[in-house]
Every structure is written in structure tokens, then in C-alpha cells.
């Protein structure tokens, strides 16, 4: 018996498990069913209450490869709902809906993405959330199935009894609402933003952070503007992904040999040096002429930390947000690939907490879904930033580099900007000035700035090209060393996407 009698008597177990009698997707292993229990539990936490059967079927279609499951009834459910006409119609309709979902491009694409449980939960919440809201009958049972695959192993014979053990009004009402919203659900399935999921794969998602990230991602999936951010990021990412950490050479015994050097330990001495007679060898050693094999540099901690300051005030509404966050995502990825450290901070009238990209993982969902829009107070925000930088200098030896993504109406007092630029390099990208021009009195204090206007954003090629050009600048300015100037540009070399008049 899958569910022992003491559990089978508990409505919190029998309720959800018994609903599987309505399921029309059969997994080939019970562990897949276990995943469904997890999804069901997490959806409950997000406030989406749907019968386990529906969560199970939709989830498996989105998360599992075709060969791991098959479509078909788990038990003869018609007997359970007494063969009523409405019951028959419900079951037939539900089966047809599941077949349509299974055949959809979104489902087949998502199956190939090997989605984690957290992401499946978010997708299910997106698909089923509005249907769940419409169910007028509350469930008569709470959900409390232990996460144990044994409970699902060969459960089919037990399903009729489990199904009959609790009132199923909520389950049937859920099916009915689902069918009533059939076209809407299918529209949602078709519109599932799998590009966002792809972005997670490319940039390193933060879904593993649990419920908080689930909420962020759910918000991102529901926001049309997030799609634009994702598309824009994907548009410019291929060029970004070419960036690679360039190894340096050192004398430490790590990695492989990189070349020859005049300093090193005895174990890396070039053997032919021993061919010199002893007096000559001593002289060469004294004059640092002896050659050693040098080793690849074991990269120490990056010497810079890049802070991405992204404006989240209401002034950024619309396309400004798209471009700002998309650019921030791509630029951060580029810097990460170059071995730099990156953090993100949003601001409106407050400077929000810092989110670091850890282990190369960018908090994508957070970046896509963050909503500030509580006023605007750049004087306070940048004064706080200056203080934070000052404190950071005592604790962190790395040089801070600031990248600001904002709009053209961000009037920061000059004195405050001076305070900030005394402590860190600061570059800025100004999005879409609504008047078409940039009139800010602190531009000459910035190390570099760019203005992105409507013309650039609207045009197909220019947009990505412009973004890539800015990213290239960020890339060349970022690492000290081989490529490009090692420090930020002087104000005179500050570039804009198109000529603008000098600030007055």
C-alpha cells in the first residue's frame, strides 16, 4: 500500500493524493510525483490553491521530457464521479486541454530547458494563478503530504478510496474553472516567456534562493516590460559572452607554466642554467639574469569592484527601464567574465541594499522585477553612496567603479557628485531624455557618460550596436592590463551616442 492507513485517514494527505484520481498524466517513476508534491506545497505558499492533480499534470508537462511520462487516466475516474453528464464533460474537456498544453511549443521548449522545481512553481503560478482566484469553493482539506516518494509508488489502486474519503467540491470546481478559462490558459501557455528562462540559464539564475526569488521571478514573468529587458539582453549578450578572463604570469606553484621569468624558486629553474660554470651562475643569480619557468597566475581577488547603480524611480517608466536594466545585465555579465566583481544597487529616494553577483551568478529575477518608485532624492542617495564608499575603503582594498543607469532628469548636486568621484570612478548612461537633450551640470565631473536617445532605441540595428559600443567601453575600461587604457577616460573623452551640446 502506498499510503499507510494512518496517513490515508488524514484529510491533509488523502485530500491532495486522492485528487490524483483526476490526473491524466502518468509519470514513469514515483520521484516525478514527488516533485509535484513540492510544487503543490510551494504554490500553496504563494497563495495559489489548486488540486494536486492539476498541479501535477501541468507541472510534469512543463518540466519532464516526453519519455518520462505518458498521457492517460490513472484510474477509471468516471465511476468516481458517478458518471454524471457534467462530470463526463469535465473529464473529457480536461483531457483535451492537457493534450493541447502538451502539444504547445512552450511546453516542448520548456521540457528541453531542464527547469528546476523553483522555476516550475513560478510557471505554474503564472498559468494557474488567475484560475485559482476564480474558484469560489474553498478546499475542505488542508495540504500536508509528507515529501516521500514511497507514498506515490503504485498508488493507483488506492486512489479511488483516497478520492472518496474527502469532499471533492473544490477539486471539481477547479476543473470547471480551468475549462471555463481554457482559451485564457492556452493563451498564457503560448505567451510563457521562455526567453527569461533562457536568460537564467545564460546568466546564472537566482531561483535557488527560494521563495523570495520565486516571487521576484513571478513578478518578472507577469510584467510585459520584463520581456523587453530580456530580449534586449539576449540581443547583446552573444558579443558579451566572448569576453574571457586573460591569465597573467606569476611565480607561484599553481596552474601550468606560462613562460620564462627572471624570478622564481629553485624547482622552476630552467635546467640549462646549470650548464654555466659555478662562478658565472653565481653572477647571473646576483644580476637577476637566471631564467625560471613562470607559472600562470592564480588570480588573486579582483582589484576592482563594479557597482551598478540602477535608477528605479518612477521617472524610468517605459523604455528607459528596458534599456537600463538590459544594459546593466549585459555589462555585468561582461565584467564577470573578465574576472571582475560586480554588485547591483537600485535607488529611488533611497539607496537599496547591495546585491552581489556571487560565483558568477547574477540575481536576474531581482533585477527584472525590482520595483522602487518611492519618490526620488538624488541628493540623499548620492550622499549616502559617498559615505558608503568611504566606509568601504576601510574594509575593502578593491577600487570601486560606479556605473550609473538613469534618466536625464536626475539632478544630483555638483558637490555631492564631487564627493562620490573623489572616492570612485563614475560613469553614467542616461536613457531617453524626453526633451531630447541632456542638461545636467555635473557631466564634466563624470569619468564617462553616454546618452541613449529615442532615435537609437527605436532603430533595429542601432540599439544593439549602441549598447555593444557602450559595453565595449565598459569592457576596455574595466580590467587593468592588456587591453585598452587602464583607467577611465578623462572627461574630455566622455562619449555620447550622438553629439549633444556642452552642459552649461
Amino acid at each position: 500500500v502506498a499510503a499507510p492507513p494512518e496517513l490515508a485517514r488524514d484529510p491533509a494527505v488523502a485530500g491532495p493524493l486522492g485528487s490524483l484520481a483526476l490526473s491524466v498524466v502518468r509519470p514513469h517513476t514515483p520521484t516525478l510525483g514527488l516533485r509535484a508534491l513540492r510544487w503543490h506545497r510551494d504554490l500553496d505558499r504563494l497563495g495559489v490553491r489548486m488540486p494536486l492533480a492539476i498541479v501535477h499534470d501541468f507541472g510534469l508537462l512543463l518540466a519532464c521530457a516526453n519519455e518520462q511520462l505518458e498521457l492517460g487516466d490513472r484510474v477509471d475516474v468516471r465511476a468516481l464521479i458517478a458518471g454524471t453528464r457534467s462530470g463526463d464533460a469535465l473529464l473529457a474537456g480536461y483531457r483535451a486541454l492537457i493534450e493541447e498544453v502538451a502539444a504547445s511549443e512552450a511546453a516542448s521548449k520548456s521540457r528541453s530547458l531542464l527547469l528546476s522545481d523553483d522555476i516550475v512553481v513560478v510557471l505554474l503560478a503564472r498559468l494557474l494563478g488567475s484560475v485559482a482566484e476564480r474558484i469560489s469553493i474553498s478546499p475542505t482539506y488542508a495540504s500536508g503530504v509528507p515529501l516521500d516518494a514511497a507514498l506515490l509508488e503504485r498508488i493507483e489502486p488506492q486512489l479511488p478510496a483516497l478520492y472518496a474519503s474527502v469532499n471533492r467540491a473544490h477539486d471539481l470546481a477547479a476543473l470547471s474553472e480551468l475549462l471555463g478559462a481554457r482559451l485564457y490558459v492556452l493563451t498564457l501557455v503560448d505567451a510563457l516567456d521562455l526567453d527569461t528562462l533562457q536568460l537564467f540559464g545564460m546568466l546564472g539564475g537566482d531561483a535557488a534562493r527560494g521563495a523570495l526569488a520565486q516571487v521576484d521571478l513571478l513578478a518578472a514573468l507577469g510584467a510585459p516590460e520584463a520581456n523587453d529587458i530580456v530580449d534586449f539582453s539576449l540581443e547583446i549578450l552573444p558579443s558579451v559572452l566572448e569576453a574571457k578572463t586573460k591569465p597573467g604570469a606569476s611565480s607561484f606553484a599553481a596552474f601550468g607554466y606560462a613562460g620564462l621569468a627572471r624570478k622564481g624558486s629553485m624547482d622552476s629553474l630552467v635546467l640549462t642554467e646549470l650548464a654555466w660554470d659555478s662562478e658565472e651562475l653565481v653572477r647571473r643569480m646576483a644580476d637577476d639574469e637566471v631564467l625560471y619557468y613562470s607559472r600562470e597566475l592564480a588570480r588573486d581577488e579582483a582589484r576592482r569592484v563594479h557597482h551598478f547603480l540602477i535608477d528605479a524611480s518612477a521617472s524610468m517608466r517605459g523604455q528607459r527601464t528596458t534599456f537600463a536594466r538590459g544594459m546593466a545585465l549585459a555589462a555585468a555579465k561582461k565584467l564577470l567574465l573578465s574576472g571582475e566583481d560586480v554588485t547591483f544597487r537600485f535607488f529611488d529616494s533611497r539607496l537599496y541594499e547591495c546585491h552581489a553577483a556571487r560565483g558568477g551568478q547574477i540575481p536576474v529575477a531581482y533585477l527584472l522585477s525590482f520595483r522602487g518608485e518611492r519618490g526620488r532624492n538624488p541628493a540623499r542617495v548620492f550622499a549616502e553612496l559617498a559615505r558608503t564608499l568611504e566606509l568601504g575603503r576601510l574594509r575593502d582594498p578593491r577600487d570601486p567603479v560606479l556605473h550609473l543607469f538613469t534618466h536625464a532628469g536626475l539632478y544630483i548636486p555638483r558637490d555631492t557628485i564631487s564627493e562620490v568621484t573623489r572616492r570612485a570612478k563614475l560613469s553614467a548612461v542616461f536613457m531617453l531624455p524626453s526633451g531630447g537633450e541632456l542638461h545636467l551640470d555635473y557631466l564634466d565631473l563624470l569619468d564617462a557618460y553616454w546618452m541613449v536617445d529615442q532615435r537609437v532605441l527605436s532603430s533595429r540595428g542601432d540599439r544593439a550596436e549602441e549598447a555593444r559600443r557602450i559595453l565595449d567601453d565598459v569592457g576596455t575600461r574595466a580590467p587593468d592590463g592588456a587591453a585598452g587604457p587602464s583607467s577611465t577616460r578623462s572627461p574630455r573623452s566622455a562619449r555620447v551616442s550622438r553629439p549633444i551640446e556642452e552642459p552649461t
Binding site: 482559451l183 485564457y184 517608466r317 529616494s349 519618490g375 539632478y411 527605436s458 532603430s459
Partner: protein
């Protein structure tokens, strides 16, 4: 005279009081006449044909007694220019200027000249804000600009006046623009934005959201003036946020509607679409299904516009695709499946990669034959009404600042405000208030506290927002009697700003003031009072004040109030639980009942008992 006003009461018959006054004026017995006629003026509900002659007679009595300011004030009620002209040389510049301004508004042909004359009077008296406003009305832009500049410099030096400084800078930006000096206008705009952003932030952090709302309103005006849509967005979105946090849902929805129109006009369809989406979500949360439906349809249309504009500009097809998808999702949400099918067909024609196009074409086939759900006329409720912006706060609030809590000036503003003419009773009450305030100003310093009490008592029934400042000034006095009178009056002012003073009164060293403030809390219960009341409940030092706040919250029918009460019932002390149960038993709101029923299954035994008791006493099933 102040003692006379202290003992007057609104009793008697206006006709007989007028007759008595006329007789006494004829006998040049001014004091008696003033007493009779002031009593007549207290009968503010009287017919105009009786009230206006009583005013005119009282004017003569005051003039006869040598109180020219009061006489002139009475002449403003029913202006007689020749009579006023005689009094003008004997009154202070502000009263002269007010009279000239009244003439100017009545004589369009001489308006500029009269306003200019009034402005010069004020400028000489050092009343820069009002003088600048009158210069603006006289279309003397240079003079106005110079005064705004002087005022801005003056205010910049005072850290506490950052809001007023922002307003002055904005006025300087406006007038610089009118004078054609774009560079100065830009600099003043930047300075104004600095100050207003700081002020808004400060107001919000001390819980004065309604003052922050004014800052955002000015930011919208700055955006319109400087063609900077960033400022319009900033102002609109934050003003909407404040309105919705204050449960002023129809105001919030109207402002949403207005902001969407502004965004469309500025060619910011993408921003407009996100606003429409939020508007629909907000309306749905408030249970306003028809407005939510309208918002969703608006959103669908705006996303289509975004897509079409992108294509027209030869923008990226992906951007257009995203916008079309957002539009079809909105259409599907309200059952417009024929529209969804049409959008899918359009998507199938975009220059996307072939797989995407094929997918869209496949989706389009699913909707072949689908119909749009019927949207009946009643479902598309258009009765949201138009957004009415607040008055020009960049003038009004600077005048309030300049008047420094003078009751006489605040009442004069009401008497001379053409908008108040339609509300005769308020205007008459303000006229009496003005007379009392003038009498108070003439009272010797030793008895000024007593005078302040009398003024506060007269201001109490008026209840206009513009009279809050004089009452706040009265509360700032050192004499407990004056503070008590101010709090008593404020308990009839149903504004969030009232709570700023009440919160101070709850910490007053004089216990009678604290008691009065505590009693006031229970009277001031309106939806947008939830925020200050909940703050008082959380932070008031005295338990009786916290309980009074809790009782007031129980009468407010908003979700946040219901949640707070549920928390008090579950986690509060015995006193709080008792107060909440008693208040909820007699409350009428439905939100708490809904929440209580939802919470019952998981409630602790103690909470279950409280909730059952409340529901049963209201005749509702558990």
C-alpha cells in the same frame, strides 16, 4: 472687543437685531450697535437680503468706532468701491492690496493697473510672495521674477523651509521662462527639483504624506513646464501611490486616468500601458470590477499602440512582438478572443524568425471562429470622473507660509476667494472669524492668550483646510488654555494634517490638552485617517490615547484597519482587546467581517471567542 466676541452667541432674530443695530447706530452708540450686529452676523444661515444689510450697518458702526480694518473687511462682503476708497489710506498695506485686488478681479479692463498697484503696496510691506503673485496677474513678469528670486534666496538660507524654497524656485523658473531666459529657467528648475525631492522625502519619512503629495503635484507641473516627462511620471506615480495608500481610491483612479492621458500625449505609450495595467490591478483589488475592466481594455489598446509605433519607426520586431503579446494577454483576460486571434495573425506577419512566426500562426488558428465576449454598456463604467488637480500650491502654500498662521489673513483669503462665494455660510463664518481675529490682534499682549482662545473657538466650525495654519500657530503658544482651545477646534478639522498637531498634543505637558486630543482622535475617523491613527496606536505614550486610536480605527472600513484590529485582538493586551471588541460590535464596516470569517478556521481559541462575540452582536453568523 474680544470680550464682546467671547460672550456672543448665535441667538435671536436677525431682523430685530438689525433694527436694534440701526437704532443704536443712529444714536452713535457704537458699542451697543456692534454687539447687536455682530450677533446678527453669527446667524450665518440667514437670507442674503437680511444678512448683507446687517453687514453694511456693522461696517458703518465699526467705521464710526474707529476700527477701520474691521469696517473694510465688512465692505469686502458686499463691495462698495467709493466707501472702500475712503478707508484705504487708513488701513495697513496688506488690506489696501487685498481691496485693490478685489477691484481688479471685478474690472477686467483695469485689472493689470490695479494688480500692479496692489503688488507695489505689498512689496513695500515686505510681503514678497503675494506681491509677486499680483505682479504676475498684472503681467509684469520682470518684477514678479525679481521678487521670486529674492524670496528664493531668502528661503534657501533657511534649512527648515526647503518646501517653500522649492516652490519659490519653481515660480522663478516659470517667470524666467516667461521672460525668455531659458538658462535661468533651467537653473531654477533644477534647484526647485532638488528642494522638492528633499521636501517630499522628508515629509514622507515623518508621516506627512499629504504634504509630500503637494510636492509631487508641483513636480508634475515642473515636468509640464520644462517638457521633461521624467518629472511628470515621477510626480504622477508617487501622487497615485499616496492616494492609494490613503485609501482615496477614486482619486487615485482618476489620477491614473489623467497620468495615462499625459503619457499618451508625450508619446510614451509604453509608460502609459504600464500605468493602465496598474490601474486595472488596483481597481480589481478594490472590488471595482467595471473600472478594472476598462483598465484592462485600455492596457490592451495601449500595448497595440506601442507595437504599431515600434513598427512605424522600423524598430526591432521583437519589441513589437512583446507589445502585441502583452496586448493579447490583456484582451484574453477579459474574454476578447476574436481580438486575440487577430493579434496572433498580426504576429504571424512580423519579421520574426520563421519558427516564431509559425508558432504564432498556429496559435492564430486556435482562435478561428472565436468571439469577443459581450461587454455590456453597464460593464464599461465611464463614471470615473475627471481628475481635479489641487490648486496652484506653488502660490497657495507660499501665501500660507507668508501669513505665518495669522487668522485674520487666512479668514480674509476665504472672504475674498471667489470660489467661496457659492458657499455663503462658510464665507460668513470666515468674515466673523476675520473680525474676531482683528480684535485679537488689537488685544494687549497680557490678554493675548485669552484672545487666542476666542479666535480658535470661532474658527472651529469653519473647518476649511486653509484655517489649519492659524490653529497650528495657536497650538504653538506657551499658554495651556490656548493649546487646549486649538485642539478643541482641530477636532472638527477632518484632514490628515490635523493629526500632526494632535500627535504633539498627546505628548503635551498639560493633562487637559492630552485629554482633549485623546477625545479628538475618536471624532476624526475617515478612511485616509488610518495612517496617522495607526501611527498613534503604535507610538502614543499614553495607553488611553492608543485605545482611542484603536476605537477610531474600528470605525474605518478599509482592509488595513481590519488587519490591524485582528492583530490587536490576537496579540494586544486585555485593555486593547476589550476596546477593539467593544468598538467592533457597534461598527458597520464589512471589511472586518470578511477578514474575521476568513481568519476564524485558523484562529486561536481566544481570538475565536472574540470574533464570535463581535459577529454575533452584529447579528451575523460565524
Amino acid at each position: 472687543v474680544i470680550e464682546l466676541f467671547a460672550r456672543l452667541s448665535a441667538e435671536g432674530n436677525i431682523e430685530s437685531l438689525y433694527e436694534q443695530g440701526r437704532r443704536l447706530v443712529g444714536q452713535r452708540r457704537w458699542d451697543g450697535a456692534i454687539e447687536a450686529l455682530c450677533t446678527a452676523l453669527l446667524l450665518t444661515h440667514s437670507r442674503e437680503e437680511l444678512y448683507a444689510p446687517a453687514c453694511a450697518l456693522l461696517r458703518d458702526a465699526f467705521a464710526g468706532s474707529g476700527d477701520v480694518r474691521s469696517a473694510l473687511s465688512l465692505s469686502w462682503y458686499a463691495p462698495d468701491r467709493e466707501y472702500q476708497r475712503e478707508l484705504l489710506p487708513r488701513v495697513p498695506p496688506i488690506d489696501r492690496a487685498r481691496t485693490l485686488a478685489q477691484w481688479a478681479s471685478a474690472s477686467p479692463s483695469r485689472s493689470s493697473e490695479l494688480y500692479s498697484q496692489a503688488a507695489r503696496e505689498l512689496e513695500e510691506a515686505g510681503l514678497l510672495a503675494r506681491a509677486a503673485i499680483y505682479y504676475e496677474r498684472a503681467e509684469e513678469v520682470k518684477a514678479a521674477r525679481a521678487l521670486w528670486s529674492r524670496l528664493a534666496q531668502l528661503l534657501d538660507a533657511q534649512r527648515a523651509e526647503v518646501y517653500a524654497a522649492g516652490l519659490a524656485r519653481f515660480n522663478l523658473a516659470r517667470t524666467s521662462g516667461l521672460a525668455g531666459d531659458e538658462r535661468a529657467a533651467r537653473e531654477a528648475t533644477v534647484a526647485a527639483v532638488h528642494s522638492l525631492e528633499e521636501a517630499a522625502d522628508r515629509f514622507e519619512s515623518v508621516g506627512q504624506r499629504e504634504r509630500a503629495f503637494d510636492c509631487y503635484h508641483v513636480l508634475i507641473a515642473i515636468g509640464k513646464l520644462s517638457h521633461g516627462f521624467e518629472h511628470v511620471l515621477e510626480g504622477s506615480v508617487n501622487a497615485i501611490r499616496i492616494l492609494s495608500e490613503d485609501n482615496l481610491r477614486y482619486h487615485a483612479l482618476r489620477l491614473y486616468d489623467h497620468a495615462i492621458r499625459l503619457a499618451e500625449r508625450a508619446d510614451e505609450s509604453s509608460a502609459a500601458a504600464t500605468l493602465a495595467r496598474e490601474m486595472a490591478d488596483y481597481a480589481r483589488k478594490q472590488g471595482l470590477g467595471r473600472i478594472a475592466l476598462r483598465g484592462v481594455l485600455l492596457q490592451a489598446r495601449l500595448w497595440q499602440t506601442v507595437a504599431e509605433q515600434t513598427l512605424e519607426r522600423h524598430g526591432p520586431a521583437q519589441l513589437a512582438e512583446n507589445a502585441y503579446v502583452a496586448s493579447l494577454l490583456a484582451s484574453a483576460e477579459v474574454g476578447q478572443y476574436a481580438t486575440v486571434g487577430a493579434i496572433y495573425r498580426r504576429l504571424g506577419e512580423l519579421e520574426l524568425d520563421p519558427a516564431r512566426r509559425e508558432a504564432h500562426a498556429r496559435s492564430a488558428r486556435r482562435y478561428a471562429g472565436a468571439r469577443n465576449g459581450t461587454l455590456e454598456r453597464g460593464q464599461l463604467d465611464e463614471r470615473l470622473g475627471k481628475h481635479v488637480p489641487p490648486p496652484d500650491v506653488w502660490h497657495v502654500d507660499l501665501i500660507e507660509w507668508e501669513e505665518r498662521g495669522s487668522a485674520a489673513e487666512a479668514c480674509a483669503d476665504v472672504v475674498l476667494d471667489p470660489d467661496e462665494e457659492s458657499d455663503r455660510i462658510t464665507r460668513r463664518s470666515a468674515l466673523v472669524g476675520r473680525l474676531v481675529a482683528i480684535a485679537a490682534e488689537q488685544t494687549p499682549a497680557a490678554r493675548s492668550a485669552r484672545a487666542a482662545v476666542v479666535v480658535a473657538d470661532y474658527l472651529a466650525p469653519i473647518g476649511l483646510y486653509s484655517l489649519l495654519a492659524p490653529l497650528e500657530a495657536t497650538f504653538a503658544r506657551t499658554e495651556p488654555a490656548a493649546r487646549l482651545a486649538a485642539v478643541r477646534a482641530l477636532s472638527r478639522y477632518f484632514y490628515k494634517r490635523t493629526f500632526v498637531t494632535l500627535e504633539q498634543a498627546l505628548r503635551d505637558p498639560d493633562f487637559s490638552v492630552v485629554q482633549e486630543a485623546t477625545a479628538a482622535l475618536e471624532r476624526l475617523r475617515f478612511d485616509h485617517a488610518f495612517d496617522p491613527l495607526s501611527r498613534i496606536y503604535r507610538t502614543a505614550p499614553r495607553p488611553e490615547a492608543r485605545l482611542a486610536a484603536l476605537r477610531a480605527i474600528a470605525r474605518i472600513d478599509v482592509v488595513e484597519a481590519a488587519e490591524l484590529l485582528l492583530g490587536a485582538l490576537e496579540h494586544g493586551g486585555p485593555g486593547e482587546r476589550e476596546a477593539a471588541v467593544a468598538a467592533l460590535k457597534v461598527a458597520r464596516g464589512a471589511r472586518f467581517v470578511e477578514l474575521a470569517r476568513a481568519a476564524l478556521p485558523q484562529a486561536s481559541e481566544q481570538l475565536k471567542r472574540s470574533l464570535s462575540e463581535i459577529l454575533r452582536s452584529r447579528g451575523l453568523g460565524v
